[in-house]
Each structure stands twice: as C-alpha cells, then as structure tokens.
C-alpha cells in the first residue's frame, strides 16, 4: 500500500518540529530526574576541560524525545507511537537550534513506518533512525 486511509503517502515529509535553542537549565532538571551524575550536562568548565567546547551537552534521551514529540504531534498523541529506533551521531550543545523531521517509508493499514532525523541548524545530523506510528 502506498497511501493510507487518511491520505498519507510513501514519500510524504512529516511536519518538522523546531527547537529554537536548547536550554541548559532544562538539562539540570533532567539530570536530577534521571539521577544522571555526568557533569558534562551541568558544568561548562568540565566540558571545556574535556576538549568538547564551552557549552554543556544535552542528554541523548532528550534529543530522542524531540523526535518522539515530532512523531506524536503528527500521529495524534503519545499513544500512537509504537516503535522508535535511533542512532546517536553527534552531541547537542546548549544554545543549539534543532529541527526534527522525517519521511514516510511504508504504510500497512494504519501502521506507518518513517525514517526520522534530528539536525543541528536543519542540516547537520545529530540523530537518525526509524519509527512506527499508528495513524488513522
């Protein structure tokens, strides 16, 4: 099948989600939630000492979550996501502008398979993967 009942077709681009500026303060909240002691999410001096730059590094799962948000906004809510598999390609830093997007690659009834990505400034890939959502 190349087109779903709701008019989704293979090759369709998913509506993009833009994160205008990754917030260092939110990394601190997530570090507390996850009990993640890694200082690269908290202290720019540590990042600098490691030769990774001067801005704190976003948690990888946060980057994955932006893609989840893009998918669930399109599919109709958090209950529509069935599977997401991603590869982490590069670090995301405080202040980065990110764009999440994807392309429909397969349709089986209401089950839609997509290639997904997250890119810095819309062009530099930081995460890539595949997803399955249910969409009426």
């Amino acid at each position: 099948m190349t087109t779903s009942g709701s008019g989704v077709a293979i090759g369709d681009d998913l509506p993009q989600l833009v994160i205008e500026s990754v917030d260092a303060e939110k990394m601190k909240t997530m570090a507390a939630l996850l009990r993640d002691p890694n200082p690269i999410h908290l202290d720019p001096a540590v990042v600098d000492a490691l030769g990774m730059g001067t801005k704190v590094v976003n948690q990888g799962p946060n980057n994955m979550a932006y893609v989840v948000n893009m998918l669930t906004a399109w599919a109709g809510g958090p209950g529509r996501l069935t599977k997401l598999r991603v590869r982490f390609l590069a670090n995301v830093f405080a202040g980065d502008r990110l764009v999440a997007g994807g392309t429909v690659t397969g349709i089986d009834g209401d089950r839609v398979t997509c290639d997904v990505w997250l890119a810095r400034n819309g062009t530099e890939p930081v995460l890539a993967g595949t997803a399955v959502v249910h969409r009426d």
Partner: protein, 148 residues
C-alpha cells in the same frame, strides 16, 4: 581504558539484570514534558520516553555499575550507540512497571580513527501489573578501548 579480553565481555551475554520496579509519578511526567518541550496533558498518558526512563531506572543497577560490568567508567568516554523503544501499550502515569532484562550482545570493532571499541547491548522489558509486557527498551553503549 585498556582492551579487555573479548571472552570476558562475552560472558555478559545472557546475564540478567537484577531488575526492579518503576512508577511514573505525575510530577515526574510533568517535569519531563517541560524539559523536552512536550505538551502537558490532562489524561494519564506518560511521555513515550518513559519506556526508556523507566527501564533504566528500574533495571536494578546504576549506569556506573553497568559500565563497570563492561570494565569501564563514565570517565572513559562511553557513548550511546543505539536506542530503541517499543511500546506494546502506551506508558501510563501512576502504573508500576516491573523491569526485567538481560545483556543481549557484545561486538568488538576497530576503526582507523577510533581504534578498538566494544558495543555492549541490552534489552529491558516493562511488565505492567497484569503481567503483560507494555514496553521494551533496547540500548547499546560504545566503550572505546586503548592499547596499553
């Protein structure tokens, strides 16, 4: 970190995690939505990333302990490899999930720039109070090794 005998690492495959339980508390879900810029909701649907968060929080060992099993520490430049969440059912706020899982694979590779590195993968299931698997979180970490 020094190169570890591959046979030593491969002995991890099939080794179970201690496991545990995790309940998505309403404040945790609210804060998570706030952090990752997801809309807040009036129903009990948790952010789908709780398939990952709950699995790692309930696996029964810390990340530092997991790294130690792979003969590494967080200071060794351990990196995320891949992550997969499979939601058999939506994650729900207030539900207590039992977490169980095992190490699933160890692969050694060598790159021109990266040198020797090991990819250690594990899978964790989230079991709801009825005994049904609600989600599966599969992850791999990359452990750079260096010759000494």
């Amino acid at each position: 970190m020094a190169i570890v005998a591959l046979e030593t690492l491969e002995s991890l495959v099939g080794q179970p995690f201690p496991g545990g339980t995790f309940t998505v508390e309403p404040y945790q879900n609210w804060l998570t939505n706030d952090v990752v810029l997801a809309p807040q909701r009036d129903d009990d649907l948790a952010h789908p990333m709780y398939c990952y968060y709950a699995a790692l929080a309930g696996m029964g060992i810390s990340l530092d302990e997991l790294f130690a099993l792979a003969h590494a520490t967080a200071d060794d430049g351990v990196m995320f490899g891949e992550a997969e969440i499979e939601l058999v059912a939506p994650m729900r706020v207030g539900v207590t999930y039992t977490v169980r899982g095992t190490f699933t694979s160890v692969v050694r590779k060598e790159g021109k720039k990266a040198g020797v590195f090991d990819i250690v993968a594990f899978a964790l299931e989230l079991v709801d109070p009825t005994g049904a698997v609600a989600g599966i979180s599969t992850n791999s970490f990359v452990f750079p090794r260096r010759n000494e």
